[in-house]
Structure formats: structure tokens, C-alpha cells
Point group: D2
Chain length 365, copies 4
């Protein structure tokens, strides 16, 4: 099946492996007339670039993007935008022995079961480098959304048992620290935790939070294509995500209706809510308040500690995973979550355009 294409009207088709020649994406359905340069894309790619922090893999990649089509005289033409990033620092030698066994927590075993064999170099298609295509496309979606007044604030909300202090939330700090946390205090605590974890040849889990501001109400489709349903798929499709929450998320199952419900209120002639437990979505459609979602990432499965597993010959063995790995996934995944949310929301905005006859008539008058 075709599992590497996403979206309904704003469609992205990603490709590439960790240790292949290049990775990239084709964006089909980008509207014409958007000013777009490689710099717009590069800014986003740099947020997930490896090798520039003590808490990320030492594999250094410039991840320089080239736009190959779909842009003419500085503007999108409405035809497919093809973008490519060449791999430059792949060292296949690192991965020779991985070919013979199945790493715990990785997709080695499932890939072999599905396809009969796999590109074992650096995880092949299941590598985190697969997200390059998502982020390059996400940069475009986010740029369009910004023109519509819709913006994103995305950050690491917790690492292990260290959670952010919401009273000290400082949006400007997010991109100033390599853990992408929004307050200095928790960043420092988390840094110590991460150093300890690395010292123990271990890795750790994390939670990424994304806030979407400026949404018009009524976006999303009732029943199967609910906005939250599509966001859930988008976010859960990111490697290592094991849970997705909207608004209060798992907490709702413990609470009562009188608590979960958000009252509506007219303030300064505009509709508002007395709280936002719903996370900005009611009945699968945006309600005009901020969309709030959380993605829970498991710890990086590649750890240098001894683990039990099997090899392709069917023997029980013990392994320590060597090579260049991140000790945590969340910080570099912040921009991936934001990208997938942006693509999904933009697509929902497009889908919504034919929902009312009066609006269609105005459009075509």
C-alpha cells in the first residue's frame, strides 16, 4: 500500500531513507501565489537538524534543501513543489551488524515480517530522518496559515518526570534552548536528568504540546473526518508517539460533565468560552478557541545498555546498540508535531470551503 502520502487536498508525498542518497517530499495542492523561498523551508528544517546539541545525535547534517519545481519568479504556481535534501554524513559501516538481528523497540522485526527484507542502514525508512519531508511540507503549510492569521506555539512540555512550570511560560525562550522548553527552570532540571540518563546508557521519554491560535470556528467535518480525528492520525503517525490528547485529554475520563463542559459567554460582542477543557474542538469542529494537543513520545529505543533480543537465525542473544543516537526524541520532534498539525489544519480549511451553498455562490459569482 501507499503509506507515504498524506492529505486530501494539500497532499504530501515523502520519500527517502536514513542512509540513501537523499530524502524529500512532493507537495501537491499548494495554492498559487504564495511567496516561497528555500530559506522559508530551511528555517523549519534547522529546527530538527541533528548534531548541534549535546542532547542530540553527533551525526552532523546541514540538511540543505533545494526546491526543484512548483515555484516561478518567487511564487508558488499551484503545481507540485518538489524538495530534496541530500544525505552527506551517512556512515553505513556503523550498521553492519544490525542487519543480522532485531533491535528492541525498533521497526526491524516488523519491516522484515512485512517486506521480507529491509534497508537496515540507520533504520532505513523508519529512521527519524524520514521526518525531513514532513517538516519541509509543514513549513509551507504553516506559512499559508500565517497569512490566514493562524499561528503555532509548540514546545516540550515534559521530559521524564520534569514538567514545565506554566506560571513561568516564556514563549521566546522555546527556540533559545536545545530542549525547546518554555521556561528556564524546567530546562535546567531536564538537562540534569538527561545528562544522568545518558550517563546510564539510557534514554528517556517526553511530551510535546502544540497550541494553535487564530482558528476560525466550524473547521473539521462531523463524523469520521473530525478535526481531532485527523490530528490524531497526523500526530500518531510520527515515529515513537504512543498517545495523543486533545484539550484535557486522558483527564476527561476521570471528571464530571459539570467540570468537562466549557460554558459559552459573550464578551465584548464576541463569542468566548469560560474555560477550554475541550481544547478548541467540539463535535470534531473547531470552536474558535485555541486548539491544544499533546503528543507523548517514548524514549529513543536505541540504547547502549544490554538488551535481550533475537537474530535472524532465530537465536536468543544480547545486544548493546552503538552508533550515533539521540537520548530523547521530543526536542527535535517539536517542529515535526507543528508541521503535521499545520498540514492537517490547512487541509481541513480547504475541505471546509464547500460546506455551504451561499459561500460557494459568492465564490463563483
Amino acid at each position: 500500500m501507499s503509506g507515504s502520502i498524506y492529505g486530501n487536498k494539500f497532499k504530501i508525498s515523502t520519500w527517502g531513507e536514513s542512509h540513501g542518497k537523499a530524502l524529500g517530499v512532493v507537495v501537491d495542492g499548494c495554492p498559487a501565489g504564495l511567496e516561497l523561498s528555500e530559506e522559508d523551508i530551511q528555517k523549519y528544517l534547522n529546527r530538527r537538524r541533528p548534531g548541534f546539541s549535546e542532547f542530540s545525535t553527533p551525526r552532523k547534517e546541514s540538511d540543505a534543501v533545494e526546491i526543484l519545481s512548483g515555484v516561478f519568479e518567487g511564487k508558488t504556481t499551484g503545481t507540485p513543489i518538489s524538495m530534496i535534501v541530500r544525505n552527506t554524513s551517512q556512515i553505513s559501516a556503523d550498521y553492519g551488524d544490525i542487519a543480522t538481528y532485531y533491535r528492541p523497540g525498533h521497526a526491524d522485526y516488523t519491516f522484515d515480517q512485512k517486506y521480507g527484507f529491509r534497508d537496515y542502514r540507520g533504520g532505513g525508512r523508519s529512521s527519524g530522518r524520514e521526518t525531513i519531508g514532513r517538516v519541509a511540507a509543514g513549513a509551507i503549510a504553516a506559512k499559508i496559515l500565517k497569512e490566514l492569521g493562524i499561528t503555532f506555539t509548540t514546545y516540550v512540555a515534559s521530559i521524564g518526570d520534569v514538567s514545565i512550570n506554566r506560571d513561568k511560560f516564556d514563549e521566546s525562550f522555546i527556540l533559545q534552548n536545545e530542549l525547546n522548553m518554555p521556561d528556564k527552570e524546567s530546562y535546567e532540571k531536564a538537562s540534569i536528568l538527561l545528562s544522568d540518563t545518558m550517563a546510564q546508557n539510557d534514554s528517556i521519554g517526553s511530551c510535546v504540546e502544540c497550541i494553535v491560535k487564530g482558528m476560525p470556528a466550524g473547521i473539521g467535518e462531523p463524523v469520521f473526518d473530525k478535526l481531532d480525528a485527523n490530528l490524531a492520525k497526523a500526530i500518531m503517525s510520527i515515529g515513537a508517539v504512543k498517545a495523543i490528547e486533545i484539550g484535557d485529554g486522558v483527564e476527561v475520563s476521570k471528571n464530571t460533565g459539570s467540570y468537562d463542559n466549557d460554558g459559552f459567554i459573550i464578551e465584548n460582542d464576541s463569542v468566548n468560552k469560560t474555560s477550554n477543557h475541550s481544547g478548541g474542538i467540539l463535535g470534531g469542529m473547531s470552536d474558535g478557541s485555541d486548539i491544544i494537543l499533546k503528543a507523548h513520545f517514548k524514549a529513543t529505543p536505541s540504547i547502549a545498555s544490554k538488551q535481550q533480543t533475537i537474530n535472524k537465525s532465530g537465536d536468543n542473544i544480547e545486544v548493546c546498540i552503538k552508533g550515533r543516537h539521540d537520548p530523547i526524541i521530543g526536542p527535535r520532534a517539536v517542529v515535526v508535531v507543528e508541521s503535521m498539525a499545520a498540514i492537517t489544519i490547512l487541509d481541513s480549511l480547504f475541505d471546509n470551503m464547500s460546506s455551504r451553498l451561499d459561500r460557494i455562490k459568492s465564490f463563483y459569482k
Copy 2:
């Protein structure tokens, strides 16, 4: 947009409103040769039928299903299966005043924002009765899966702060109690909690858990159409779900790699795992162990307590929601979660059939 069609090869198209003439579903892509009767469907529909428990709405509906097409001489023909359930107990009078204001926690406001007006009777299309189509289709998917050796165990895992006792798990008890819990002790505790909640004119949240046994390994597609991503969409598309977890779910963000990873082990000549924190899915593909997922439902938004809201004229008002409502969503949603999981998994099995050239050649030899 077309939001009421779901699935890629096993496609379901649902329709109908709470207080319309009927509800139903068309299943397109059901393989030929399955023995199918209305009784097969009815068994599933009865698990979500209202009016038969002190903890569900007093609206009594027999929800009798009629198969209109796609079955000939007791077997599916491969052509669309149309199924219909007539509404019999709708009382529109109940809903006169709802037309004028927006109920907190409901889709009233978002429907009006999207479409300009709405069928306000009983929530219209956003009513829980919408799930009739899902369950009728799910009954077919589950029957096919059973022939392939894949089975479901689905139950309420918690209600408010009452969680099940996993040491006393009794599968046979699930369908014997109206809360669909798997142990008597928690059922009794939860019953008391529910009675108290109802006495306070309130409602309460709940968590539904679904275990899928017998999955072959390698099902699901890497990248966007991961099995867990598709399950996340399927489950989050059910009204009132605000979070979805696979395996350890939200807990993974607090744990380390040495804990999150499941070791592989050969036992009795077959591949097994030393734990199942991954919930049966690695890299978006089934790993052959049980799939475990959790859906968190918010409390029923319709409560008879006083709530703040606004009316269509733009006034701030206070309302108490009358009518016939469930005080909890989870128990009746158990079969809905199971249905959506079954449809999604069956679709993934179909998608997987063209993944390897050798298997395609065997198929067409």
C-alpha cells in the same frame, strides 16, 4: 467535505440523524462469500441499544436492522451492503427550546458556524445514534476477522476514579453487566459512583480498553498509514473521545528506553516478546503480540445542572438540559470502539496484501 465515509478498501458510508426517519450505512468493499444474516448485525447493535439499563437514556429503541442489498442466498456477493435502522421513539417536542441556544460541550455552536443552521432535534447528526452505522459495519468486519483468527476483548477500564482490578479480570463478565466492566468488584463500586453522580444531576467520564488478539505481524504501513495512526483516527472520530493511547500510552513519556523497550525472545520455536509496552505495534506495524488501545471519553455533556451559555440572539443565559440522556458514555461505546478498531484492522489487512512481489505472484499464479 465528505466526512461520513471511512476506510480505504473496506469503506463505510454512514448516514442519519437522531430524530430523522432512519439511520444506516452502506458497506462497500466487503469480500464475497461471507455468510451474513441480520442476526449477525443485530447482536452488535444490541450492545449499544439504549433504554435497557438504569445507567442509560430511557429512550427505548429496538434498533432492528434490515439488510437491503449485497447479500444473496445467505452470503455476501462482494457488492455494497446497505443496512437500515428505523427510528421509532423520536420525540421532537423535547427539543423545541434547544433550537435557540448552544448547549455547552455539544456541537451545536460549531454546527451552526459551519453550516449556517442545524437539525437541532436530539443533536441531529452529532447524536450518539450516529454510531449505529459504525456498529452495523463493525459487526461485518469483526466477523471476517474472526474467520482469520483475530478477536476482540473490549470493556470499560475505568469510570471516574474507579479503575478495574486486573487481577480479577473475568472476560465472561463483561457482557453480563450493563457497565461492561470485566470484574464484579469495580462494577459495583462504579455503580455506586454513577448513582451518586446522577443524583447530583451530573455525568461522568470513562475509559474504554480494547485488546486485539491473533494479529499477524507486519500489518500497517510505514510513515503516514501506520496501524496505530489509523486506529488513532478511527477511535478519536467517535464522539466525546479526547485521548487515545497505544500500549503504555501517556506513560511512555515518563519512562526510560530500558523500560519502554520490549525484548524479543524465541520461546517454543516462535517469536515472542518479554513485555508488551508497545501495545503490539512497532514502527506502525503489528509485531504479532496483542494490540492494546485505550479511548478516553469525556462525561456526557447533557446535564440537568445549571450551566452558563449563550443563545442565538447573542445573550448570556443559564440553562439546564432536559430530555433523555445517558449519565455516562463508555459502556454503550464499548461496541463502537470495537467496531472502529475492527474496520480499521480489516482495512489494514487488505492494504497489506500487495506489499510483496512474491506473495502477489503466488496470489495470481
Copy 3:
């Protein structure tokens, strides 16, 4: 696979067999706010209704449609519109022996090869009655298009070797004769030809032409989703169609560029063309002139003459097909062609709404 769902944003899901309980369609993606009654649908269905002409099957069906959902207070709500037509005059006894052999020119053999068995009564799902769902949905699409100023003129352009006289084209005559031809002279000639054909226990082919007026320019997508490509699929999916032409159609392969090209010209301040060989489509997008398409229908395969075929036991046999059959397909298919064209064009109009950033910004301002 799911072969009975059509459309991208205006999606129709049809179901039902010739001799089953009923046939119908679910329309998902119809915009909210359209005034819609059963009469709007019935008018279209009556144009394909059997039993009311000497040149159609004597099977009499009222084909009365019932709308089951998606309409509230006389207007579409934006949610799925389910429509049903009960079969009343099915006589299964007619079809007993058909079960045992494969009728030439029919789908009996291919159905058995695909599905292992078939509903043989009246052709089952491959019956012309399958088009009821298309026409019910087409009536809605055409009504929306009319509000946008887009209208259809569809008629039989030839029967056997009798072609219409374009100099005597009289649009009002089309619905006044049971052959749906646009001039009296050819209608009379064709009537004689048909009577002769029937007298010889034979049937005859025909060509249906469809003109779409009022199209805005720029509708359709470059490359795969060209407007003509989508129309070709839509029309070729109608049973018995073996060729589809746009504009000059097959003639273009015989002509030169200086002939095939249509010059542009400014007349009365608006863009016009000096000819319309392109049939209103250039590069897959509407050019603002009339869209012209032709569908070629083979003769009805059910004929009472002796034909060679095989039975399920693998014997060579000879058969005469009895039962109630049309001697020609075109006249009753006129409204089917119009319906499929309307659905396709409406879908293309919806798809086109997100093609330009400036228009998207106006929409969401």
C-alpha cells in the same frame, strides 16, 4: 475493493440490485442550504424510468424515491443525504435458467470469475437499475450547478446509422419523445429503425451527447485530474459505454493543427473562441466555452436471437435471452450521462476552490 463510491468532495455511495429489496444512494458532501424535495429527485428518476415507452422494457416500476436523511425544514443540512427506491416489480422467476450459463455481452462470466458466484436475478448489481443511485445524486448536483448558472442539454445524437439533423435542433423536443432526440425527423427515422430491429429480435447501439453551458474558465486540475479525464471515467463507468469523446473526439486524430486549434478572440469585451473543436477544455481545464462530450453505447446485450455461449458446467450451448429488455440503451441513459457529468463537474468546482491563495484569503477574511 470499494467500487461503488464516486467523487472526491461530493461523494456518492450507491447500492442495490435489480431484484433485491431496494436501490439507493448516500450523498456525502452536499453543501448546506440547498432547497431540496423528493420532487426534485423524482423528476430526474422519471427520465430513466422503465415501462413507459414501446422502446423500453415492459417492466413497470414507479421508482418512487424517499429521502431518509440530510434534509431538515426543506433544506440540505450538509450531512449525508440517504435516498431509497423500493423495487416493486421484480419477478425472479424470469431468471431461473440464467443462473446456469453466461449471457454473451453481459457481466455474468466476469462476476463469477471475480467473486466466485453472483446474484443472477436480472443481472444483480450489473443491471441498468444500478443507475438509479447515480441519477438521484445527479439530480442534486445539477440543482446546485443551476444555482451557479451551469446547465445541461443532453440527448440521443444517433441510433445505428440514423444521426440527428443539427440544422433542425429543437431543445424543447428532447423530453417530448421517448427516444430523447432533438429533432422530429431523425426521431421518426430512428423509430422505424428500432421497430425493424425489434422485429428481428435484435437490439441496436446509440450515441448520447451532452452540452454543458455556463462553465467558468479554469475548472479541472492539470495532469491526472484533468476535467476531461474525470469526465471520461465518469461516463465510461456507465454500463455499455465503449467510447467517450470530448469536442471533436476521434476526428482530431485525422486533422491538422491549423484545423484543430481554436483561435481566441475578444468580442464585446469578453474572451471568446473562433471555434470549439476542443469541446470547452484545454490542458484539462475548462476554457469558458461549452463543454461537449459524446458517449457511445453498445446495443443491449440481451437479445432473443440465438447466440453461442457456455454454461457453468463447461458445455458449449446456444441460448435465446428471454425476459423484459430494452432494445436500446441510449434514450434511458441520457439522464444517466447528464447525472454523471453533473456530479463530476460539481466536484471539480469544489476542488478548484483552494487553487489560489488570494481567493482563499478572501474566503476566510
Copy 4:
């Protein structure tokens, strides 16, 4: 909308413009285990390569393909295959004045109407070079089909009024003449016609025929996803095609049922037909005989003769199109028709795999 993605399970996403940096395609859904090299692709691309015949544009391009992903150790891995062809001979200077007016028969006007502006260099995305992606993907589809015993014979069947002589059909001659005709006599006649046409600064239309041998019966889906419907879309989506015929095509509308019908017959213990008017498809499914389809191409719209048109300022003007153009489209389009047919048929084979429960059970046993 996303108009540059085609296919359901074997999905291709093409990109690139005539005078951009490169063109290419991402193939998603190619099964794992196919031996694949750049040479396999290059062979197909060379069949449409420009600059190597007196009857094609003098623009010389090597059209050398590079595979960037999805192949490991010489075999497809099941993940996306990205292929790229760099433009090397684009001369934008040629196209300066085209920016200001609308060429008759081209997509200039419709592109501007849809998107507000266009990449005017060499037709941009509407150039024939767009088919590079189709052919690169088609080479893969055709290679898989060959392993399943399905092969293609595709050729130019007529140019202007010169048709092939079917009695002298010589398959081996097709690739030995630059017009890709299957008999020497008509090739020579057509060459003279073409030289004359070019001398008159004109171009000419042509018809391409494609025969598919080795099809199993039962492929294609009833109703909308009929095999012929999908082929019609695939072929009509190729630039300059204005008509598509299956089997007898337009002729069926002139004939009788006793002629159009193909009798079934058992010969040497296998099912055969006494004729093949149906072109190998009955009720939208393959009947096991050869599939026969015809695509009618209009003459190349770029001609050096004087034509009437308008410029962007709204003036009526006369133009002669200069630059490097083919005088005929068919010969270089032969491999494009074959590619689109191959992709469509492969996709139908994949779709068909879940049509019967017994076969699904065998697959997953």
C-alpha cells in the same frame, strides 16, 4: 487540488516543468522484492526522448534518470521510489514573448484563469515533458506485470488519414521506426504525409493503440471503478488526447446486439470468445481476452502558421509559434499510453486481491 497524484494502491506523484531544474516522480506502493535498476527505467524513458528523429523536436535531452530511494541491494524495499531527471537543454530565451499572449490549443489561457499567472517557459507544467514521471513509473508497473505474465503491444495505428495495414502487422518493426508504426508500408506513407505537413508549417493528429495480453479474468470493480473507466481516465489525462475507445469503441453505437456481442466458447478445455468486440472487458471487469484500447491525439497545437489569438492586455493579435516543437504527438506518446495503462492495470490487480473471503483466508493462513 492535488492533481498530480494518480493511483489507489500503486500511487505515483509526478512533478516538474519543461524549463525548471528537473522533473520526476515518487512511486508509493511498489511491492518489495522487485529487481530494479536505473537501466530498467531508462529503456522506457528513451522511447519518449526528444531530439532523435526528424519528426520530433530538435531539443536534445539525454533524460538520464537517477533513482534516489526505495531500492536496496538491487531490489525494491516496499518504500517510496523517488526518481529524478535533470533538465539540461532548456533555453528560456525562446519563450520570452509567449508570456504575453495565449497560444491557441494550449493551456496558457486556462492556467492563467485558474492560478492567476503561469510558468510560461515551454508550457511549464503542461508541457509534454510532464510525462517523464508517468513513464518512469510506468516502467516499474510494466516490469511487475511482466512477472505476472501480462504484456503490452503499443503502436501508432493511424496518422491523419494513413491507417496501418493489419494484415502486415509486424510487432518487431514498432520500435525500429521513429513513428512506432507496426508495418513498413504505412510508416512510409505516413512519413511522406508528415514531411508535407511540416513543409506547410502545420502539424497532424494520430491514434495510438494498446493491446494488453495475459490478463486474468475478473479484474476491475463493478460500477464506478470499472477497469475501462479507470483506463479512460488514465489515458484521457495524457495531454492532447480527445477520445478513448475500448474494443470496437465508437463503432458500437452503429451496430446491433447480434453483432456487438461476443459468444463464449470452450476450446481445448479453456474459456474463449468467438470474437472480441468488447475489447476484453465486460461489465467493467476483464474477461480474459486481450484488452484493446485506442487513444486519439490531436495535432500538436504549436504551429508556425499564422493564428488568431489575444494577448494579456486584451488585444486581438496574430501569432506564429516559434521554438522547437514536434509536428505530431502520437509516436512519442506510445510509451506514455503504455505506461498509464500499465499503472492502471497493476492498481486494479492489487485492488482485486481482497474481493473474495476464501482467497483472503488462503493469503493469511
